[in-house]
Symmetry: C2
Subunit: 139 residues, 2 copies
């Protein structure tokens, strides 16, 4: 895909395969009981995974395609007893650019497939990026 002139356009790098298919059953955050899931990368991206090892923690960015992009205030965790907040003060999926951030642990690696723990997204959700800690100051 040529994105030279595409502006702020994202391309999927893969998809999530997870036992979670029912949004109502998904935990609000990944460390609240998510089953293990797989990140399945597009062909041609194998070099980008070089150096990732089981036990590593990485940040996964996903596209929250069910999100509403016109919401600016929300009750955190969909709990009306929580005072309303601006979406930029929260991790709500409903925000102008619905990018989900998920810190996960790598369980195992099989070519273009990474098995991860603590990921809450559902099957079919688009992966945008994986960011490891290598090269971050002090690591």
């Amino acid at each position: 895909m040529d994105l030279t002139d595409a502006g702020l356009e994202l391309k999927p790098i893969g998809r999530v395969e997870s036992p979670l298919i029912d949004p109502a059953a998904a935990p609000k955050q990944g460390d609240e009981g998510s089953p293990e899931a797989w990140l399945v990368f597009e062909p041609g991206l194998l070099d980008g995974l070089h150096g990732i090892r089981p036990g590593d923690r990485v940040l996964v960015l996903t596209w929250l395609d069910r999100a509403r992009r016109d919401v600016l205030r929300t009750h955190p965790r969909d709990d009306l007893s929580n005072p309303e907040q601006g979406v930029f003060n929260t991790r709500s999926p409903h925000r102008p650019n619905p990018i989900g951030l998920h810190e996960v642990e790598i369980v195992s690696i099989d070519g273009l497939r990474l098995q991860v723990r603590d990921l809450e997204p559902k099957t079919g959700e688009v992966e945008l990026d994986v960011e490891g800690e290598t090269g971050v100051a002090g690591r």
Copy 2:
């Protein structure tokens, strides 16, 4: 902007304004020497900032428009003595979807302008998102 049919297209929510660099000015504090900078939001997004307070730490997502999107391996921190890694194991700006992640501290707030500390200042860089901690498990 109507993004209903726009697919994975991002919209800028604002821009970074870095301060003038004046060698005679008193040095600013920052984790790695970054001066304080401003996040300037688009008109109409004020509600999205509700609840953000000075002293809060938030994640800022930016679009790294100078990045190369066809790079899959890199030497972390551009240091050839570091073993080559897949970009998904790093925070390199060069990656298929060049989204920058920056954890910053809010210094002050003036309407649609947030003054922040610890942001690598690049005037004009597009802001994509700000994600606070409200509603994250245990907070």
